[in-house]
Each structure stands twice: as structure tokens, then as C-alpha cells.
Symmetry: C2
Subunit: 319 residues, 2 copies
Amino acid sequence: MSNFNELISFIRTEVNRDLKRLPIPERPIYLYEPIRFALRGKGKRFRPILVHLAGRANNADPDSLMKIALAVELLHNFTLVHDDIMDNDNMRHGQEAVHFKWDNSTAILAGDGIYAIAQILLSGLPDRANALCRSFNQATLEVCEGQALDKEFENDLSITEDQYLKMIEKKTGSLLGACAEMPATLVGADEEVVNSFDKFGRALGIGFQIHDDLLEIYGNPNVMGKSLGSDIAEGKQTLLVIKARNQFRKEWGDIVGDSDKSNLMEKIRSFFTEKGIEDETKEMAQSYFKSARNSLENIGDLNRDELNEFINLVENRTY
Amino acid sequence: MSNFNELISFIRTEVNRDLKRLPIPERPIYLYEPIRFALRGKGKRFRPILVHLAGRANNADPDSLMKIALAVELLHNFTLVHDDIMDNDNMRHGQEAVHFKWDNSTAILAGDGIYAIAQILLSGLPDRANALCRSFNQATLEVCEGQALDKEFENDLSITEDQYLKMIEKKTGSLLGACAEMPATLVGADEEVVNSFDKFGRALGIGFQIHDDLLEIYGNPNVMGKSLGSDIAEGKQTLLVIKARNQFRKEWGDIVGDSDKSNLMEKIRSFFTEKGIEDETKEMAQSYFKSARNSLENIGDLNRDELNEFINLVENRTY
């Protein structure tokens, strides 16, 4: 294992340890049991890892970085708990979603509580609390906007690639932008550097999401199958579907409209590959990762090695 | 109209004007239309008014006070939008509740967005952002705890007065405590003064809620009626019900268990009056208002006249 992978693994362990150590009370059980449960899920902790790496590039204080890292991970989990209600997703991070294990009311309140705890953590930062609080909450509002667009796009067959990209920038990119930018804000970096970190994180986030769309289709042929195929046939939006629908309307309609649903996922997969949609989508992901690397060129003489390695890691992930 | 009533009316108008002026975008419609709708409701604006009055006593900067006042009103509205989903309440502030006019997903996201906007407002404060952010979010978490207890207490016939009082302190008192305390925190008042403002607000909030329980039963005999009577028979918890159940278990059980539901509300009302529960509850509310006045004795040589008048106003309200 390379030094970099060891570093990532070390940071993840530290983040998980400090997440477990958060002083979350026992009672009221109705509030805190589901919160503890949600935070126990097997998240990849990409966001807090990015905070730490961006913080290392900025020579930021590790204790303050950990507060930001945990706040960001809590924010992410708060949005997931609520999104899972809205999207009726029953599994999350290898365990039942909160609204599925308990009920909607419990999950609404658990999400609210997680967000409040995140902000209490942030308020413990010694410096530049205003600017950090603003970044954090503007990112939250943008994530909400992204989720709103996602809901608006449901079953809308006229969505363009640009609209989809705007949606994932808000839903995923804005928070990764905040993860990359907040450590620079913490140390009082120039506005231009702060903006470059934000751009880097946003591009990384968009690339991450497009890569996710690809992994969902090609990632693990054994696990994939019926449910994804029918989700897609029923109008689930991914970049590949939008490309298929807009470039090959008739042929695509024939596939998803076919009453014979046998091997549907295999047919969709082959279609994407044969029509060049798989390659086109891969190239788009690559272009966002490239754009993330370019933004890192503008962070002055800070060491960007670990951040570039992190881009590689995201770009090459297979799970 | 007294000068004080004119002052309250003036502050309410200013708060409503600035709420309308909040730079809330048009799109995504899915997010911002319900947010604008929720903020248009006819709330009494007690909380932002309390912020301004406590701020006047502390000679705090009016612009900063308005940011805190709006943030607090937004926070209150965020919790109402989510509570209305959890409690299945269909009306709020004289209009349809968001989840009822749209759906649960819309209301969850609208509440989240309102909370984020509140925090962005707070992050615009020039001074002591950390401490204010902490107060604000600790109050939020306590409101969540109060709502959690409220859910735990549903249909639990063993709830005691003390448990109920603890619940309403968290659900209502904590936020009024923050409203009263944040202006003192803003001007850097001594910890003892800050704590006295918090205690004053909490006692006021508990008194407010008990008074609300009384108003619900005795406030407007023409409007009240069938639905409240059956809510109570079905286990809705108020201080009066808990007293009736715990002091007169058999007789109370006979009333709410009676298959003849005619004039149920009148029977409940007479029972509370004849058994002395009405008077006992009034005395408890008075004792909390008195305790609020006592806490104001500890705010040094600040002018407490308007805050005492505000207690009178809350104590004597009939709507």
C-alpha cells in the first residue's frame, strides 16, 4: 500500500474515532438513538478526508480541521437522512435508512438534530467563525437547491445535460467545494486562493458524480440488475440516460419501452457502450477531473501533491 | 393605545417588512416557493420582538439585532414546518401548512432551507459570531429535544407534570431564552447577566405555553369545540389534562371514556373549573411570569421596563 493510501486510511480512522466520541446524549431516545445509528453507517468519509487534505496543504491547525471535517460529515449525513425520506430509499451506507427503520417523523427530527450538532461544532472554531459559518450554510442551501432540482427533474424527459450538470454541481459539487475551501478560509488565505480551492472541489464533485453514474451501470455486474434496470426504464435520471434519450430518442425509447424486460440491464449496458455513450461519459468525467487539477495550479506555492493524489483516487475508485 | 403597544406594533411591522425583503431567489421553485409561502403566514412575531426588546435594554446595535431577530423567526418557522409534518397539522398561521399544500418532501426541504438561510443571516454579524452561533444552535437542538419528548409522550398516560414542564421548557422556553440572551451576548455582557436573560426568557416561555394551554380550553368558546374535545379524549397532552388524569383518575376517565360525546368540550371545561384545575394552572402560569420578572432583577442597572411590560403583554394575551 502506498504512503498516500496509508494516509487516507489513517485520516478515515481518526474521523471515525472522533465521530464516535462526539458527546451525543442518551436522551431523549427518540432524538439521539437514530442520530447515533445514522452516524454508525459505513460512509466512505470522502468529505472529511478532503477537508484534512486541503487543510494539510494550507498548514492549518489539525484540531480546527477536525472540527470542520466532522461538521461537514454531519452535514452530509443530515442531507442523506432527509433525502432518503424524499426519495423513498430504504438502505444507506450498508444499513437501513432512518425513516425505514423508524418512521418519517423520527428521520426528519434526526436530520434536524444532526445539522444543529454540526453547527455547534463549527461554533467552537477559534478563528474566522463568520466566514466559515457562511461557507458552510451557503453550501447547505446549495445542496438543498440541488435536491430541489433533482425533485423537479423527476419524470421530466426534457432535461438537458446542462441542467443535469447544474443539478449535480449544486447537490454534490457545492459541498466538496466547501470542504476544499473552508481550510483555506480558516487560515485567512487570499480570496483568489479560496476561490481556486472552491473551484477545485466543485469540479472534483461533478467528476465524482459522473463517475458514480458510470459505476452504477458498469461497476459491479453481479450486484446490478433488475431494480436498476427498471428504475432507469421508469425515468431515473443519470447522465448516460440523458445522453441516450437526447441523442437516440427512438432507439432508446424502444429499449426502455419494450414489454420484454428480460436482461433489461444488459441491453441498456450494451446500448450505452455501442452508441459511444459510455466513452463520452468517461471523457466528461475526465474533463472535470482535469479541470480540478487545473484549479489547483492557482493555489500559489502550496503543496498540491496530496490533493492531486486524491483526484486520482476518486477518478480510479471502483466501489 | 399605550406607547408600549405602539412600540410592539412598530417592531412587528419592521420585522415583517425585513422578512419580506430577505433576498430569497425565485428558483428552484420547488425550494423557494414554499419557503416564501411559509414566511408569509400571520405569525405573532413574539420571538423577534423579544430580541429587539432585550436588545434595547442592552443598547445593542439595531442592525445586528434585526439579523438576530430574523434568524430567530426563521428558526421558529423551520421548526413549525417540520413539526406540522410530524404532528399532521394541516393549518398554520391562518393558512395551509406547507406539507398539506404541497407534500412531505417539499416541506422537509423547505424547512431545511429556512434553517440554512437563518444561519447565513447570523454569519453576517460583525461581532461574537461564535458565541451567537453556539446559542442559536444549542437552542435549536434543545427545541428538537423538546419535540422528541413531545413525540415520546404521545399516548403515554403516565406523564407527570414535571415531565411536561421539562418538555415545554425545551420546546418553547429554550428558544425564548436564546431570544433574550443573544442580544446580551452580542454586546459582550457578563456571563451572569447573559444567564439571567436566558432564565428570564425560559420562564417567560414556560408561562407562555401554560397560558396557551389555558387559552386553548377557555380562550374562545365559540371557536372551540368538537375537534379539541376529541383530541383531548384521544390523549392530547396539556398541563390541564395531566392534572385531571393524575389527581382525578377515575372521574376524568369517566368523562373522556363516555360514549356520549355530546357537549364533550363543555363537560371538560366545567370539570377543570369545578375541580380547581383551571385556577391551579393559572397560578402556575403566574408563578413562571413572576420568576421571569425575578430574573430581570439580576441584569444590573439595565432598564427592564419594556421587558416587564412584555411579560404583562404575554400574561394578558387573549388570542
